[in-house]
């Protein structure tokens, strides 16, 4: 039997071959189906191999060294429990996105700009999580970034997409630079780039601190931590929808993998203040992400901003895990890490599902702007149902899966008064409040996303003529919707599957869940807290069905259709409905006026004047305006000043080169 690592590696190689072949296959009539169908089969194989490795538990992983790359390092691959879990997340998302794309991709006009890069992107993500040395990690990481960049600018005639690609490229370079330096510091002056060598080395506290900060910048910029998130809401929506699903649902998780690998695995014992840094960034990410999302009326951009919020939740759990680990509370660290990793899995499910739904809406109506949608539940009932499940799951509503992981994070927060550090004692409750706050705002956000897009009356002719999407897309959406429910009502299975991963990272694990009566989940002890999604689900189904049948049988089941009542003043014009902007208005007024300096200006024409009244809302993006614009202005200024360097004579250029050489030699001579 082949080792799982070899299988996943072979799958990645096949995907690369497919990427090259796609240049030719993509031209044929059945190209889309062939490419996505093959990707589906390959990703499923890799998924099964990852599952096999994960379920083998703490079985030793195979080392694979290929004679490629730098001669004194080679290229090393290894799939331990952590990598196996992320292989599962990546390839489950990849397989379903491929299934979705068999249907969705047929609407693609610029096929050759998408088809070759899609398998390459999948291969890149798989290779990142398999890499076992810094060199191959960075190469795979960059490969993933660039192939996804190519997919972002696939529709390059749209001006916004070009800008998105530009910002993405800059931020991806910044992230890779930070990671390059991270591994440089980790490998030390002797250049032990294999992960095993890095793990064995023990850097000094100052160097560890430097590595932590660089890793936060490097992986955080890819994951979308505020304030490094700016590229994400531009780039994710710009790509074709199945790629958006992969970027939001899966690629951000690869970044989380990078963070976990570096900080929990390679860096050794954490110091207590590391968690302060992570928790502060994560709390801010949570609330800012969801507030940004609430202000959007572009469906895909709303989803992309919402990814930022969920990354915040994941990093809150990871930060708590770091804090517990620093104080040697292995069981609490295990709870926090399990919560974080479970949310990684859950978020990859529902965010991909939601992007699939947005893609289906986009193909059916050609619209991403919610202000032009509405009433799609009548035209696309199946898509609407799947999208609704995704919305409820991401809003952390029981009995679906999003609630389970957030519940576990809350349980981890409730353990933190035992932490001795005063800084954490003040920070953690505040982070808890931010988390609770963002969870409710998320529910508000998805009431808006679903309610404005699918409910009400159609706001444009495109929306009123929409047709249900194809079977492949529906199959992809419904398989993830089903998984959302299963992971919500049987969370114990998933928690137990995570145990070997957590065991390695935290040095402990959560209690075994599968043996608990009635399949409840019990983070610490039954008397302390427990939750049973299955029973809650069954109770709700039974009591709802009971009420329905009792009322229909004993009282009345008559129904009459009539025009809407609306307090006696119904208006036939769909413009009288609430829109995305007006739905968010109360929240914009309460929170947006502080965070985004939102101002509303109403211009009323004087009586007798037939001009329409106008309301304009002005909002400012605090991160972009305070952080990025000054830097961009600085770069522009410097470029302007240095412009005259272009027109120097050859002698002047040579003297500059000579001066630089002298300065470098001086530095080298004076280096201690």
């Amino acid at each position: 039997m082949l080792a799982p690592t070899v299988v996943v590696l072979a799958c990645a190689a096949l995907l690369l071959v497919l990427a090259i072949a796609a240049v030719w296959i993509g031209r044929t009539r059945a190209g889309t189906t062939i490419i996505y169908g093959t990707s589906l089969v390959i990703a499923l194989t890799a998924f099964l191999a990852g599952m096999a490795q994960l379920l083998r538990g703490s079985a030793p992983a195979d080392d694979i060294v290929l004679p490629l790359g730098l001669p004194w390092i080679g290229v090393r691959f290894r799939m331990d429990a952590l990598s196996a879990f992320f292989v599962v997340v990546v390839d489950l998302g990849a397989a379903t996105a491929s299934l979705f794309a068999i249907g969705y991709g047929s609407h693609e006009r610029a096929r050759l700009r998408v088809l070759p890069f899609y398998p390459a992107f999948l291969a890149g993500m798989n290779l990142v999580v398999l890499a076992d040395d810094a060199f191959s990690f960075l190469v795979a990481w960059e490969f993933m970034s660039l192939s996804s960049w190519a997919l972002v600018v696939a529709h390059h005639r749209v001006p916004d997409n070009v800008r998105a690609g530009y910002v993405y490229l800059i931020m991806a370079s910044l992230g890779t630079l930070a990671l390059l330096l991270t591994f440089g510091v980790l490998a030390g002056p002797h250049g032990g780039y294999a992960f095993a060598e890095i793990r064995a080395a023990h850097p000094s506290p100052a160097l560890s601190a430097l590595v932590l900060c660089l890793a936060v910048v490097g992986t955080g910029s890819k994951a979308g931590l505020v304030p490094l998130h700016v590229w994400l809401p531009l780039a994710h929506p710009a790509a074709p929808s199945h790629v958006s699903a992969l970027m939001s649902g899966v690629m951000t998780k690869v970044a989380v993998y990078g963070f976990v690998r570096i900080v929990f695995d390679l860096l050794g014992e954490p110091a207590w203040w590391w968690s302060m840094l992570v928790l502060m960034l994560a709390g801010m990410t949570c609330v800012m992400g969801v507030l940004y999302a609430l202000m959007q009326h572009d469906l895909k951009r709303l989803l992309a901003y919402h990814t930022v919020e969920n990354i915040g939740i994941i990093f809150i759990a990871l930060g708590l895990g770091l804090a517990f680990k620093a104080y040697g509370m292995a069981w609490a660290a295990a709870l926090a890490l399990t919560a974080g990793l479970l949310h990684v899995f859950n978020h990859s499910l529902f965010k991909s599902l939601l992007f699939f739904g947005a893609g289906a809406v986009l193909t059916a109506t050609g619209e991403r702007d919610m202000e032009h949608l509405g009433g799609l539940i009548h035209r696309m009932p199946h898509t609407a149902f799947a999208f609704l499940i995704g919305c409820a799951a991401i809003s952390a509503l029981p009995p679906l899966n999003g609630f389970v992981s957030e519940w576990l994070v809350f349980q981890a927060i409730l353990l933190s008064p035992q932490l001795p550090s005063w800084g954490l004692k003040f920070l953690v409750p505040a982070v808890g409040a931010l988390l609770a706050f963002s969870a409710t705002l998320a529910a508000a956000c998805f009431v808006k996303a679903f309610g404005i897009t699918f409910l009400g009356r159609a706001r444009s002719s495109a929306a009123s003529a929409a047709r249900e999407t194809d079977r492949f897309s529906l199959a992809a959406m419904f398989s993830f919707a089903a998984l959302c429910l299963i992971a919500g009502i049987l969370p114990g299975l998933f928690i137990d599957a995570l145990a070997p991963v957590v065991q390695v990272l935290a040095g402990g694990r959560m209690p075994v869940q599968t043996g608990v009566e009635w399949l409840s989940i019990v983070p610490i002890a039954q008397s302390r807290s427990s939750y049973n999604g299955l029973l809650v689900f069954l109770f709700m189904v039974i009591s709802g069905a009971l009420a329905a049948s009792a009322i229909h049988r004993l009282a009345s089941d008559k129904l009459r259709r009539a025009p809407a009542w609306d307090c006696g003043y119904p208006d036939a014009c769909p413009a009288t409905q609430y829109t995305a902007s007006s739905f968010a208005q109360p929240i914009r007024r309460v929170f947006g006026s502080v965070v985004f300096r939102a101002r509303e200006q109403v211009e009323m024409a004087p009586p007798g004047d037939p001009r329409p009244a106008r309301m304009t809302v002005v909002m400012h993006d605090p991160v972009w305006e305070t952080l990025y614009l000054p830097v961009a202005a600085g770069v522009g200024y410097a470029a302007e000043r240095l412009n005259h360097l272009q027109s120097l004579t050859i002698r002047q250029f040579l003297s500059i080169v000579f001066a630089a050489l002298v300065v470098l030699l001086l530095v080298l001579a004076l280096w201690p």
């Binding site: 927060i413 508000a444 009431v447 709700m540 008559k558 009459r560």
Partner: protein
């Protein structure tokens, strides 16, 4: 045998909450009317209303989808399940461990999510007003509630309501600043969540300030009956929650006999009547707020909850 008894008690709890909920609503209405020197409808009027509504046909808007018809049952189911998991007359209910306090709050959150969607479904302006304001109110009320849960959980060392009630009844509690803050915050949240004055007016109709009533404007017949019943259940749930945590006296233990159960049931009815009276008194003595004053009211609740949690993080004995 013990399992059957447990089942019976759990079943009795589910029936009790379902049957007393309209009574509580009727009682509050009656007391409010008496305080305003009106005769008021009889206490059992809500039952008559429910029966009448259930027998009527549903008039459904042309633009309503299937979701609009499912949501009342969903809201009722979520609220009923949540209400039957809060200990009323006996702790240690058979299924109490299937959802802790956080899950109960989240179940109510599910019901609110569904109701807000229902408000948007028909595509009228009133529904939109109601939904958008409801989520704005919830965006502050729910975090405040979670902070209250944190406070209680840190004091009692558990998020299970049965364990909490048991701990509160024991002498280990003592007087704590954090619990005082949590009680005030909980009352404020309960008022907002149940759409009572000063946040919303349950008696209003055709008013631009309405929130809850605006969302359910398009509902009629049995659907409306279920939503009204769920609203009553939610009020009962919050009163039971306050009673179970802050006034656990008389609660029968997990192994109590029939006598103790009877005492527990009587004590529970007494607590409900007191809570209803205090609510009516509060509602008649205060005026309704402007919608955009509500965030300040709930922001205060959130700060109180956060302060209580912080105090407990600083010292377990505060």
């Amino acid at each position: 045998m013990a399992v059957i008894a447990d089942f019976l008690v759990q079943g009795a709890q589910m029936l009790i909450v379902l049957l007393t909920a309209p009574m509580l609503t009727g009682l509050v209405r009656k007391i409010k009317a008496r305080m305003l020197r009106r005769a008021g409808p009889p206490v059992i009027q809500p039952y008559r209303d429910l029966v009448r509504l259930m027998r009527k046909e549903v008039v459904l808007a042309d633009t309503a989808s299937w979701l609009f018809r499912v949501i009342p049952y969903f809201i009722f189911a979520a609220t009923w399940v949540a209400a039957s998991l809060v200990p009323t007359f006996r702790t240690g209910l058979l299924f109490s461990w299937s959802a802790d306090l956080i899950a109960i709050i989240a179940l109510l959150g599910s019901a609110r999510f569904a109701l807000a969607l229902a408000g948007l479904d028909v595509g009228t302006s009133f529904g939109g007003i109601g939904s958008s304001r409801e989520v704005m109110i919830a965006s502050l009320a729910e975090p405040a509630m979670i902070m209250i849960v944190f406070t209680l959980a840190l004091v009692a060392g558990s998020t299970q309501l049965s364990t909490m009630a048991g701990f509160m009844e024991s002498s280990a509690v003592g007087l704590r600043v954090s619990l005082g803050l949590a009680l005030i915050a909980l009352v404020m949240v309960a008022i907002a969540e149940n759409a009572r004055i000063p946040v919303d007016n349950p008696a209003t109709h055709l008013e631009l300030t309405m929130v809850h009533e605006a969302m359910v404007l398009e509902y009629s017949g049995r659907h409306l009956a279920l939503i009204e019943l769920s609203a009553s259940l939610k009020l009962l749930l919050y009163l039971s929650l306050i009673a179970c945590v802050f006034a656990p006296w008389g609660l029968a233990g997990p192994s109590a006999g029939l006598g103790a159960l009877a005492v527990g049931a009587l004590a529970y009815l007494g607590k409900l009547a007191t809570g209803g009276f205090l609510l009516a008194l509060f509602e008649t003595s205060i005026a309704k707020m402007r919608v955009f004053r509500v965030p300040e009211f709930l922001g205060a609740a959130l700060m109180l909850g956060l302060l209580a949690t912080l105090l407990l993080f600083v010292s377990r004995s505060l």
